[in-house]
């Protein structure tokens, strides 16, 4: 006897195409012109921030950095779909999501200077810390969502993982747990086609990453990750339907336009032609085309925005460079109390000026 156990189809959602044309039937009805202008500005801010981090890194003023250029629509679309009380669980490339959720930009520069203090989120930012071990954040997102549900909060968790991250056991375990515990969780795969030098095609022979949801019994869909409106729509509708339909896995198809990190050299493993093919699909360009055609954007507004954002970023750098850390904070923050044996070690280190 054969029984049908799942529906093997994956929806692919695109609302705003590469030419800036909108599919009116799919256009989310809670989006107005102002919201789209806001999306555009945040995407530009994320890209400007990215450029600043890269230049600071080249000057030796911040440590290794993982740029997000090309992935702005996935990050900003999701960030603006989140409600104030929702929680963000990032991997390590989601600076754009943080920025659009009001996380202070100077914190990234402080962390970039090598201080843990940059990872301390101001209250109300509702985010976990950057997770460097790929995929390790995914089970946390399940637990966090469980806690929100347990405490009867009207809030959801939005978690990010890369295409590479979907190969980790933690990812599979988290998707499975999420369905079983029926938690309010939206999992976003920021599929930028690369995990350092390993292309998406070598990560799995599965046709889509979204279909990994099926094995866990949860919902899965694909979205044009360079279409900020489609990402916004998928994530906001996903959040709204969590209580009735359970967790959801959304694969955003985008492209890593730059290096993996500042320690990487992609000329070793990828063809510039592959990168060039994605240039016309730029997530920012198509929104600009759309807004300009509607008469909502022009060079004057662009110039004004660029100047404002440059100032905001430069002020944040200045603030971060004025930050002074205290090495004693290493001891004070390890536990909720300082054990005697650690206090002795601290005193010894302080007396020796940490051997500097």
């Amino acid at each position: 006897m054969l029984q049908k156990v799942f529906d093997g189809e994956i929806e692919y959602l695109q609302v705003l195409d590469e030419n800036g044309k909108v599919d009116a039937a799919l256009f989310p009805n809670d989006l107005d012109d102002n919201k789209i202008i806001e999306m555009y500005k945040y995407m530009c801010l994320a890209r400007a921030f990215d450029a600043k981090m890269l230049s600071l890194q080249r000057q030796g003023r911040v440590i290794t950095y993982a740029p997000l250029i090309g992935e702005e629509a996935t990050q900003i679309g999701a960030a603006l779909a989140m409600r104030k009380d929702d929680y963000l669980v990032p991997n390590f490339r989601q600076h754009g999501v943080f920025i659009a959720r009001g996380f202070p930009i100077e914190n990234f520069f402080i962390a970039g200077r090598g201080y843990e203090d940059g990872l301390k989120a101001p209250p109300g930012t509702n985010s976990l810390a950057v997770a460097v071990p790929v995929g390790s954040q995914m089970p946390h997102s399940v637990g966090l969502a469980y806690a929100l549900k347990y405490k009867k909060k009207d809030a959801a968790v939005v978690a990010f993982v890369g295409d590479g991250g979907t190969s980790e056991g933690d990812f599979y375990e988290a998707t499975n747990f999420s369905g079983e515990l029926k938690v309010p969780l939206v999992m976003i795969i920021e599929n930028n086609q690369w995990a350092i030098s390993v292309p998406r095609s070598k990560q799995s022979i599965a046709k889509t990453l979204a279909q990994k949801a099926f094995a866990a019994g949860i919902r899965g869909l694909q979205v044009d990750g360079n279409d900020v409106i489609a990402v916004y729509k998928a994530v906001s509708e996903g959040i709204k339907s969590l209580a009735t339909d359970g967790p959801i896995l959304i694969e955003c198809i985008t492209y890593r336009m730059s290096i993996h990190t500042t320690a990487d050299d992609p000329t070793k493993y990828r063809d510039q032609k592959d990168v060039d093919a994605w240039k016309p699909k730029d997530p920012i360009l198509r929104v600009k085309t759309y807004l300009s055609a509607k008469g909502l954007w022009n060079d004057e507004l662009e110039k004004q925005m660029t100047e404002e954002q440059a100032k905001k970023i430069n002020d944040s750098v200045a603030e971060a460079e004025a930050f002074k850390g205290d090495p004693k904070s290493m001891f004070d923050n390890l536990y909720s109390f300082v054990p005697d044996i650690l206090k002795d070690e601290e005193n010894e280190a302080v007396d020796a000026n940490f051997w500097q």
Partner: protein, 321 residues
């Protein structure tokens, strides 16, 4: 030929793959990219995708698959991109690699060499600077080596690939390209389980390994003290004899490592010296190590790790005791 540690290791892997077709490499980015530190550079071109495998991103999968390959008669060399990510494969290492031979009374064994960069001082992101050697040494079943120079790196790698055991091969990132050495182009072995006296001396014994070797060496030469320096090279099994012989001669022992102080390799060595040579010592045993904290973000890494000043002060203290 003049080689740095990266080229010495690359050369060792190349020779081992030439001499034994069961040697296969697997890991994240080990193919076209040649590994993020280029240790496997060019090997995919030479040996093909069947022998140099770019795996999906999953450390438990990499190590578990390598164990299966070894049980099936291959001699895999899994690379874990940074030691901080090897914990994902820890269960496979401790529950299987370390026990297979024992549990089957040598019926099945796991010949493999797990390579991973260790250690800090490189201004890296979180989890890229760990020194986890004690975690693999504890409990038995895994051989743990950590070279401090290109010559030893190549010889230990060749030796590891000639053993029928699971070897955890820790490569100090900071030393990868720090200096070059004359390294023979042909195959040779450096003994596993044998420490190296890199400087003979009479007044004190300094036992160290990995990233701390060049620092200890520099401090000793600058201070003109007559120290005997032992580079462990193998952490498990420990070369107890070389340590005890030296300590009995000098009467003073100091252990220097980059890993944290408490419950570390230094504790094991100090315990053995006190059990077996206490009456031949004329001063307490001193350990110099990192603070008992997780490896910090880069701003304070130089506050966290032992440096020349800290090592120098410890030598002064020991010599005046």
């Amino acid at each position: 030929m003049q080689m740095n540690m990266v080229s010495a290791l690359n050369n060792a892997l190349d020779l081992a793959m030439q001499e034994n077709e069961d040697v296969v490499l697997l890991g994240e980015d080990v193919g076209e990219d040649g590994g993020v530190f280029r240790v496997t550079d060019g090997l995919i071109k030479k040996y093909g995708e069947n022998r140099v495998i770019d795996t999906p991103l999953a450390e438990s999968g990499i190590i578990g698959t390598a164990i299966g390959m070894a049980l099936g008669g291959l001699h895999p060399v899994p690379e874990i991109q940074f030691a901080g990510f090897m914990y994902l494969g820890y269960s496979q290492l401790i529950n299987h690699a370390a026990r297979y031979r024992e549990r089957t009374r040598s019926g099945l064994s796991v010949p493999m060499v797990v390579r991973t960069p260790v250690g800090g001082g490189i201004r890296a992101l979180e989890h890229h600077s760990e020194s986890p050697e004690v975690l693999y040494s504890y409990g038995g079943g895994l051989i743990v080596v950590e070279p401090s120079n290109p010559y030893d790196a190549k010889g230990l790698m060749m030796k590891a690939l000639h053993l029928k055991d699971p070897v955890i091969f820790l490569e100090p990132t900071k030393l990868y390209r720090l200096f070059k050495q004359d390294v023979p182009e042909e195959s040779y072995e450096v003994d596993i389980g044998k420490a190296n006296i890199i400087r003979a001396g009479e007044d004190l014994t300094i036992i160290t390994y990995g990233t701390m070797v060049p620092i200890v060496n520099d401090v000793v030469s600058q201070k003109h003290v007559d120290a005997e320096i032992i580079d462990l090279r193998t952490i498990n099994p420990l070369d107890e004899k070389t340590i005890l012989d030296s300590v009995k001669k000098t009467g003073k022992a100091m252990i220097v490592h980059e890993a944290s102080l408490s419950f570390g390799v230094g504790a094991e060595i100090a315990a053995r010296i006190s059990e077996k040579a206490l009456y031949e010592l004329d001063a307490p045993i001193i350990r110099v190590a990192s603070l008992d904290l997780p490896y910090p973000f880069p701003a304070y890494e130089n506050y966290y790790m032992p440096n020349a000043k800290k090592v120098g002060a410890a030598i002064d203290r020991l010599l005046t005791m």
